[in-house]
């Protein structure tokens, strides 16, 4: 019992356990839900959210908040599509350009927050409006992209046993592992955790919290732009009105995965788990068959609520 409690003390382990319960329950109800094919699809379908959520995780751990993720994602998507279609650029060059642009945009937001000491909520909310405006000014309509490289990317699959993972899934999983490693043992990761955990101590230690945070906003916007590229690869088109509300989903996924809104605590693996939970809920709804928009929302929200409530109850039980 005490070993169980010790295990449950770790938010990540707790999330895993609750998730496992959910999978077992759902697996018992729907045939074929727990299968390699479903898992493969889940990974590929949620890479966009997964990448965006990684950015949100970094910012939250550093004690900040980024609401511009969805808009930056849309702007990067439509921007890349336009560059490929109208500019005749190679997709990878286009992707590199928009990710660079995203990083610059994030750095600007970070500068406004840290140098002018404005609240992150307002600055990134302004960023949400501005980036969406930029996206709409690139192209109001959705823009379809057809390019041999993209077609090849869309068909490429890595087969591991029964799993078959596409390039987006690989990118997401790879980025997750990279972030997990960077958070745990790179100098930058340690700085981020220090700044988010105790900014005053970090300052006393001779770190520059403001600089670290600016870098974080740049990183977050970079991940959002990457998610926009993933959107183009996944759907074969860019759209200025895509990904609205993505920032809330990304933050929710990070929080479900054990990242604290107060800063200092969080993990990339936990965020991946949070994203997987959302993906899983969508899959369950798919298996349920023809649910209306209303029922889908009630199911998504209800399962999400059930998950966080159950975890909270367990957490309280552990603390006692």
């Amino acid at each position: 019992m005490s070993a169980l409690r010790e295990l449950a003390r770790k938010p990540l382990a707790l999330s895993c356990a609750v998730f496992a319960v959910l999978v077992v329950l759902a697996g018992a109800r729907y045939d074929g839900l727990v299968s390699a094919a479903v898992l493969s699809n889940l990974i590929e379908d949620n890479a966009e959210l997964g990448l965006a959520a990684l950015g949100a995780t970094w910012v939250l751990i550093g004690g900040g908040l980024d609401l511009s993720i969805g808009s930056v994602c849309a702007c990067a998507g439509i921007g890349a599509a336009k560059l490929i279609v109208a500019g005749g650029l190679d997709p990878f060059a286009a992707f590199a350009l928009v990710v660079g642009g995203g990083v610059a945009f994030g750095a600007l937001q970070g500068l406004a927050i840290e140098r002018l000491s404005l609240p992150p909520f307002l600055v990134t909310l302004a960023g949400l409006f501005v980036a969406r405006a930029a996206a709409l000014s690139i192209e109001l309509e959705s823009l379809a992209v057809s390019h041999p490289t993209l077609a090849a990317l869309g068909d490429a699959r890595l087969r591991v046993g029964e799993l078959s993972i596409g390039p987006l899934g690989l990118a997401w999983l790879g980025a997750t592992c990279l972030c997990a490693f960077a958070l745990a043992s790179s100098r930058f990761g340690r700085r981020v955790r220090a700044v988010g955990g105790n900014a005053r101590a970090a300052l006393h230690f001779g770190l520059a919290p403001a600089r670290v945070r600016i870098e974080l906003y740049a990183l977050s916007a970079g991940f959002a732009a990457l998610a926009g590229c993933a959107h183009v690869v996944y759907g074969g088109s860019g759209s200025a009105i895509a990904a609205s509300g993505l920032e809330l989903e990304a933050i929710a996924a990070a929080v479900v995965g054990g990242t604290s809104l107060a800063g200092g605590v969080g993990s990339a693996l936990g965020t991946a788990l949070g994203v997987a939970l959302f993906g899983f809920i969508q899959t369950v709804i798919l298996f349920e068959g023809t649910l209306g928009a209303g029922w889908t929302r009630v199911a998504v929200g209800g399962l999400f609520l059930g998950f966080v409530a159950l975890r909270k109850v367990l957490e309280t039980w552990v603390r006692r």
Binding site: F181, S186, R187, G197, R200, L203, H204, F205, G206, R320
Partner: protein, 507 residues
């Protein structure tokens, strides 16, 4: 040429002259104490030394070279390390990471964890500390965290160390350990500046003492040729009256009784009783259950067992709100975290005290202001009613809490470390106010690490050890309390009457 020399340092903040032409020289192999009342400029001077603030005028030299550090990083590069008032480590990082943050050994693929741990272990072993450096900072005792701060400063080759009230959050054993270390570092020839409130500590440690008052240097004294009395007079700028005497014993029947007050796993059952106007002292080392007892009494945390009897009848107390209903109020140990709404004004914080009696009905703004002004006068709080509490000094914040408690017209107040981090002048005022209230029939549970204070104020003292009541001493002296706190040798301390916990006065 001294390692550290300041001359004519000035620092102004909007509307305040914090430092006005202050000189300071610190020799190698010296512990130099910096004392003064709150607001005298000690902290500002320490901040200038450590690069957190920059002086407006004056010269600052290290080893004879003029310097002007603009950040803690630059100060550190000059060999000036800092140990701050509140132990400031990043709670989620490991001790090793905290120790070497920003200077981690790197490999091409990231940081070298093994090298990190071994370097940290070596730095701590240098100070004689054995601890698992992979543990998170939040999981080790405060004393160990403090050692990490010192090791951190030393491992970056600091030759000048600035301690800004380093003992504020330490227990007495940890303080002893810190002092032993500071003496050892003195032998190594380091220059150390020690900003302190406790003159007892200053005289135990310092070679020279610089006194600040109102941003000016009053003088520098050689500790061996001076006395605490002289220093206090220099700090206050006036002759000091005699120390308040202990009051005569109170007669009267116990109106309040706690029976088997306990919180499983945190506090073993404790009994005690209080008469009107009685001050019951509670002492114990950090972690002995002092704070837990204080919080259990007003049911600040869930899961408290035991009975509370008021005027002989049991009362149901399940929350601080319920405790307030029967007249029990707590002044918590950490005033910033548990005691005050720092963003609200003095008036609003005080209104919280009377509001409970008024329920949801309105206490008019005029009444609130009148209340605030009355208590500001009564306790000598240096603030206006509309000033935000977060901007006040520690002593004034503590007075605001005390005023809030007293404004609520309580029957029993629990004061958990009411004088921690409070300067000498304010301390005496606080003590006098507490004594006055007791005279008017208020019962006080007085918890403090400053044993002389406890001995002065309380006839009966409950000694806690290992989260249980060790013994109840009557008319004990400081030495007897120390022995009881350490445990074991309480039996046979002849002149002191021993009463089992829960017993009445032994007259």
């Amino acid at each position: 040429m001294n390692p550290l020399e300041l001359a004519g340092i000035e620092k102004r903040f909007p509307g305040v002259v914090a430092l006005d032409g202050v000189d300071l020289d610190v020799r190698a192999g010296e512990i130099h104490a910096l004392v003064g009342q709150n607001g005298a400029g000690k902290s500002t001077l320490a901040k200038i030394l450590t690069g957190l603030e920059r002086a407006d005028a004056g010269t600052f030299s290290v080893d004879g070279r003029r310097v002007r550090p603009r950040s803690p990083a630059e100060a550190l590069a000059l060999g000036i390390g800092a140990i701050h008032q509140e132990v400031d480590l990043v709670p989620e990082l490991s001790l090793a990471e905290n120790l070497l943050l920003g200077r981690e050994p790197l490999r091409w693929w990231g940081s070298d964890r093994r090298e990190l741990a071994s370097r940290a272990r070596r730095a701590l072993a240098d100070l004689g500390v054995e601890v698992d450096v992979r543990r998170a900072a939040k999981d080790v005792p405060l004393g160990v965290q403090q050692q990490v701060c010192i090791a951190r400063a030393l491992s970056s080759d600091a030759r000048i160390l600035i301690y800004d009230e380093p003992t504020a959050s330490l227990g007495s054993a940890e303080v002893e350990r810190l002092f032993a270390q500071m003496r050892a570092l003195r032998e190594r020839g380091l220059a150390q500046v020690f900003v302190a409130h406790s003159l007892e500590q200053v005289f135990a440690l310092a070679d020279r003492i610089t006194v600040l008052r109102d941003g000016k240097r009053v003088g520098t004294f050689v500790a061996r040729e001076s006395s605490p009395h002289a220093i206090v007079e220099a700090m206050l700028g006036a002759a000091l009256g005699g120390a308040p005497e202990r009051r005569a014993s109170t007669a009267g029947h116990a109106w309040f009784e706690a029976r088997g007050l306990a919180r499983p796993g945190v506090l073993a059952p404790i009994d005690f009783a209080l008469a009107p106007g009685e001050v019951l002292g509670v002492v114990g080392l950090v972690g002995s259950g002092r704070t837990e007892l204080a919080r259990a009494l007003v049911a600040a945390d869930p899961g408290v067992h035991g009975e509370r009897l008021v005027d002989g009848a049991p009362v149901r107390v399940t929350s601080p709100r319920a405790a307030a209903r029967v007249g029990l109020w707590l002044s918590p140990e950490d005033r910033k975290v548990d005691g005050l709404c720092l963003g609200l004004s003095v008036r609003e914080n005080l209104a919280l005290g009377v509001q409970r009696r008024a329920r949801f009905a309105r206490v008019s703004r005029a009444e609130q202001t009148e209340l605030a002004e009355r208590w500001i006068r009564a306790l000598g709080i240096a603030a206006t009613p509309e000033q935000r509490v977060g901007t006040l000094s520690g002593g004034n914040q503590q007075k605001v809490i005390l005023a809030r408690l007293l404004a609520a017209e309580p029957r029993l107040v629990v004061l958990d470390e009411p004088t921690r981090g409070v300067d000498v002048g304010a301390k005496a005022q606080l003590e006098a106010r507490i004594a006055e209230c007791a005279e008017r029939g208020l019962s006080v549970l007085f918890i403090s690490s400053e044993l002389d204070e406890v001995v002065r104020r309380a006839r009966r003292v409950l000694v806690l050890r290992d989260r249980r009541a060790e013994v109840l001493l009557v008319d004990a002296d400081v030495a007897a309390l120390r022995r009881a706190m350490a445990g074991g040798e309480t039996a046979g301390t002849a002149p002191h009457t021993m009463v089992p916990p829960g017993g009445r006065d032994a007259e």
